[in-house]
Amino acid sequence: MAVTKRNPASAALNALTLAALALPGLMAGPVCAEDDEVDIQYGHYQEGARNLYGATSAFKPIQVDSLNTSARVKLADRLRFAFNYIQDTWGGATPMATAPLAFGGNGNYTGGGNYTPSGTVSGATPYLNNHNVYFDRQLNPLSQDASGNFVKNTQLVHTMSMASPETRRQGDFKFGYDWDESAVDVGGGISVENDYESRFGNVAGRWDFNQKLTSVNAGVSYTNSDTHAMIDHDAQPYIYDASTGGQSYNATYGDISHIVIGNNGQRTLYGNKQDWASNFGLTQVLNKNALFTAGVGYSYSAGYMANPYKVVQVAFIPPDQTGDILTGTTTALLEQRPNQRNQLSGSLGYIQHVDLLDGAFHFNYKLFKDDWGITSHTFEADWVQNLAAGWTVTPKIRYYSQSAADFYNPYLISNQAIQSNAVDNLGREIFVSAIHPNNGVQYYSTPLGYVNAKTGQLLNFFQQLKVEPVNKTVPFNRAALPKYYSSDQRLSGYGALSGGLTVAKQFAKGISLEAGGEYYTHAGDLKLGGGGEGSYANFDYWMANATLKLDLSALQLANGAMFGFNDHNDGKAGEDNGNRHKTHKGHHQHQHGNAPAGVMFAHTLAKAGDMMVGYRYMYDSESGGMLHNSQAVTDSTLINNACQGNACYVTPAAMTMNMHMIDLMVAPTDWLTLMLMPQFVDMGMTFRGLSGAGLPSDYNSEAAVLHSEHPHATGGVGDTGLYAMFNLLDFQSHHIHATMGVTAPTGDVGIQLRPIHTVDLGFIHYGMQLGSGTWDLKPSLTYTGQWQDVSWGAQLNGTIRTGNKNASGYILGNMLGSTAWLGYGITPWLSTTLRGLYSYEGTGQYQYNGTYYPIGPMDYLANYGRQSVDMGLGVSATVPEGTLQGNRFSVEWLQPVSDDVNGYQLRRDGTLSATWGFGF
């Protein structure tokens, strides 16, 4: 009702103001689109399965879940600030090499370290190394048919490798200052993932001319990136290492990267890369319906630019062979890329509005060239169609084509032996002791026996038995291989065609929702001018995104002013909403009570038609050592008791969880508030070997223990909550409401570890699955009250799992929480809270219904759930004026006071909650 009342006058004002706001931003592009905007986006990327020519991959293709939160606010009249937080979690199979099908790279693992190259299921570990391969005299690969005859088979295939889930996080910021006809932006940020860290800074300027019909922009940036990739256990045996125990052959190439061998033989590749980039652009308004853009960009990169997880398959064919069939030996080498790259790009864009259809056509073309031999063309066209009632539909089409890098090669053939017998300068074969090959003593052979090369002494029979002379070998000649090589399909020649649709709906009050999808297909045949890579490298993916956009400036305009959440709201906002206060006397005061950040469902909305958007973040950390009930335990206790009658080998050292929740509330009636809460969760766990536990005797569990040397990570969409909140009692300053809700099992409970050491490790630890896997009932009862500057509240809440088991065969325990708090308003806009919390969670039941290898307490559901008492200290602030007026921020730290765990678990360090909310 308030909306209709306001409509006629504010709609025109709104449109005018939006137009005025948009104009300066028009020239600057997306960097400084609308001021005071908060955007939250979820994206999902799913790649399709590759053609493995007869082998069926046992693993899901790669998928990525992304969360992106972006906020842009005006700090002062001309000063802008923007902040972005991006988080990606990915896992799944990708190609690690390419080889002729005849090499059998996707061979089937049949147990005990044996492979059958012609298996039907792509095995846990790729089959890349040290087996014989055959060629004809023209160097065509040969495969053997059922009767053992060699037949020419030139078909190539990717060798797939699976990655356990990993998470990347990026935070970046930008400060902007606007003059009347120019602007400057200064920004920077950091992107962190397990094996890669990148820091960047940028400066950009914009100048408007010709009454803002022409504007030019220029920018420079610098990025410094470190690679510290653990060459995974599986790849080690496949990556050729010439000097056993020494520096890896692969790392001796130049000084841009090196491999360090850890105590347990773990190899870590270190590299650094620096990028300097610059761009220059022009935007020209052509007429009242069209504009044109042009841009050039140049970047220079130096350092380690290879992908540490991609290898190139090399077939070594000794030259002195007779007959029509040549026998070679394959090995995999880490790819080698140049340590410098110059990239140049030019782009053109054209935007035309068509009044008749109320739509706009966008066209962009980009030409890219680098000194690696890659030239690419990108054509993009969008049609933005405005429809009635705030709907916009945008079909998009994109075509991309690139030529291959000069050093791209699906695989290499080298006409030399992979290793040969060393000879001295007289042409005699050198022998060393099989027992002590590196003791520096060399021998040569004579008809009488072996002779010590240094002393000239002939070994007698017994000495010879003791020495056991064997040929000294030397690895292949590196110089006979190309200087650079990569079989990464990204460097091959191909084309890609993609199409998508984006649908956006602008709601009243400055909220808009956007959902988009895109389907992409990559194929050698699609390359401009032909000559692309073979069809074995074809793949496709689809991407979907959903974005919630809140234009804070428009929200303010639409509302006149925001009512606050502050109980002591006696400022301007209160005056502007005087009507509401009168009509709903007392209502809104305690319903928006200053509850601590960690309390969910603490308030309902004041009256029919009210809406609220919030963001809730929770961080939970456990690293305080292992407990049994409330007592610290020793490693030997864990080994013997924590694994349900089996031995424990490792224990969690630390676990962290981050939850990002979006809070969408709407009140259809005065007594009912509905709430939707999607969430994004990520978790990380590190482990420690239990001292004295040793290694399991079975091969598979041993592999699981070795894998725990890597931190484990998961992330993605969690369970989605749907809640109805009922106002039960409103008496003076006392308020009671009941919440009935349910969480839908949208969080994945089937996450698996990547296979390693040829073992399919199966399900990851229970606590790292992203949801419960069951529909959970979430009832709660909340009481809040207030007297002058003091407020208080209490809540009882529960989580009841329904059903017997989830899709992965287990069920988590039920939960109960009770909490009470006291708040004090220090100033009208700042308040503080103190609270106590008791929580209970039961143990889980049953176990995974598929492969998994329990190696520590975290793999048994009896070690889940606990009773704990926490004390919490919180602070809340409501912005009293300015463009962010009415935005409320709260933070709370929960400190565990007592912890009584079921079975054996980590001690909790505490929980941090932070919320942002905005009602309108």
């Binding site: 990026q170 970046d172 950091i190 009454q211 308004v285």
Partner: protein, 72 residues
């Protein structure tokens, strides 16, 4: 490199050829529409750009805005 400069030249010529019509501030209503923004879906573009840079060799950004390794 020839093609690149030719395109640049064409772009320049195009601007001159159309001899930009003067557009008074009160005639800029259409230009200010969201559909006419240089990028109408900037958030989606960010995620698309990230995917493209980790799957294509010629899509690198020149603005130094992060993006990670994309080593998968």
């Amino acid at each position: 490199m020839g093609l690149f400069y030719k395109l640049l030249l064409m772009a320049g010529l195009l601007i001159i050829a159309v001899a930009c019509t003067p557009v008074a501030p009160w005639q800029r209503g259409t230009l200010a529409k969201p559909a006419m923004a240089l990028d109408p879906n900037p958030m989606q573009s960010m995620i698309r750009a990230h995917i493209h840079t980790s799957r294509e060799a010629g899509s690198a950004s020149t603005t130094g805005s992060g993006g990670g390794c994309g080593c998968y």
